[in-house]
């Protein structure tokens, strides 16, 4: 039961992950490279390269839709909407 054996990514269900559309946008002009988005994202979809945040290109397949990256970004460089209605993460036991 040790954590090493839990694969968190495999415990997320989705519908039509290819039809969500783009729902996170990001303005590099505003980013100061503080890296809080990378700290907060449960699946580490953000990283900092050369002083700027970078979002994993296929984030739609992994994002948990929690919007923590939007909330943490003081510079308001990250805008978060949600996937198209009826697509994305499905929580059966929430």
């Amino acid at each position: 039961m040790s954590e090493g054996r839990i694969d968190f990514k495999s415990l997320v269900k989705r519908v039509d992950a290819d039809k969500t559309g783009d729902f996170i946008s990001y303005d590099p002009e505003k980013c100061d490279g503080c890296g809080l988005c990378a700290v907060i994202c449960p699946f580490k979809l953000w990283s900092v390269k050369e002083g700027k945040a970078r979002l994993a290109p296929r984030y739609q397949e992994l994002c948990l839709e929690c919007a923590s990256c939007w909330e943490i970004c003081e510079r308001e460089a990250i805008d978060f909407s949600y996937p198209r209605g009826g697509t994305g993460v499905v929580i059966e036991y929430g």
Binding site: C34, I40, S68, E71, E74, E76, I91, Y93
Partner: protein, 500 residues
Amino acid sequence: MEKWDVVIVGAGPGGSYAAKTAAEAGLRTVFFERGRKPGEKNSSGCGLGQRWWRDFPEVMEAVTRMPSYRKVEMVVINMVDEDLRLRFRCGTNGSDLCAGRFPNRKGMEGASVYRMDLDPYLAELAVKAGAELRTSTLVTDVIMENGQVKGVRTERGEPVYAEVVIAADGAMSTMARRSGMRNRWGGGCTNVLQLDYACDEEMMDDVIGDAEWCWFGGAVGYQVNFRSSFHISVGGGWLDRDLKGYRRHDDLKSLIDVPAFQAMCRAVKARPREFQAHLLPWLKRPVKSYTGGMMLVGDAAGFPCPLEAEGVWHACYSGKIAAETAAWAISRGDVSENALSEYEKRWKASFLGKEHEFGEEFVDIWEGAIMNREKALEQLQLMLEFTMLQPFSIVFDWADAHMDCFNHHLRHFLELAPQFSDFGRTYLAPLARGVWPSNVKRILLMLKPRIPVLRNLSDRNYFRVMARLFRQLAPFLDPTAEQDAPLPRGSLEKRGGERR
């Protein structure tokens, strides 16, 4: 052009209860949900407290029949040390006073259900009352005219007009943002990770019982137990720049590594099943909850309880008040910002407003004393020392020369006093404002017979003298103060200022 009396964004508990209330008031009501069905986007756990029996008894009756339902009669607290060893376990058992506080002696009975059970049920109540539900529909914008909200726009670009919009779209609230009411929370919001386990139902009954479990200290987690499963939520770190007390993903991992947690998992045959993450506003005080043509309810307004972030009741309760206010405003033909300020007046005067009177103090306790790992470990030590002084300790630890053992503990306890008083000063003293004047008087009257000279005074004169001698007591002893209610914020600070 599509036009409704009320458009509601979100079919979570807040949206659905608002839709039900609005439809019952005869308003033409539509509510939108981005999920394919209500509940499938929501992660929370849904421990429903005892006050549900007072405010929503019919919902509670239905909850007890839901597939995931487990009764909650106590909370079991498990505290682990820095090496993740279980050191302290206790339960909140409650007394007869608790049971009697709500109708039908339900004061010690809560419930846990999944959102996939609760949310569709609440939405169905609204639909039955005549509201129209549109699922798989993301609302992306508000329609504004001269600073007044006039409707919303869906992802397909369709405008949907309304007399009043109720934003029940959760913590991130697209409606609050797009209308310019606020942007990010900028501090008061937390994020929570949640891991769900499928378990053996019989073993859940035997090992867990009708209880919720909490894990504090070296690892933190809130364990909500269902009929044949449980989930643990971890995090609740406040999302601000210094990430005060922020406990990351690693914290979920430390809980999973706690041997006592693993033992419990083995006993109930737990198998990890689903992983979720969700924002949860945990604010010292809610934000402004209305603008022209629109009201915010539930998480969108930051209503979750400042003591322990319960929020489903708050969503339903505020949803109900918002819909009632909408009916009132529409009937008067005035849905301006000024008219809708009535909403904030109403919720502030209700149980919901009372909930936030001590928001600052409650959030401070959690942030400083529980979510902060170092402080939490200090609490653990204090609690352990404290329990060694109580009479049950005779059974084990005072087993040698009894009075010597007791005195060892007493000495050690007194040595730790500065740590205690530090905690008391920082976190408990600010709550003293909340002690009812009637109870302050009760305490003073217990002391009276022991004080020479003063014991001969009439009660009235005795209180007068005490108010002079101890200036901090004066506001409590002011004859015009309301007796069974906390003193208003500011009344104590003012006095303190005078003295300095």
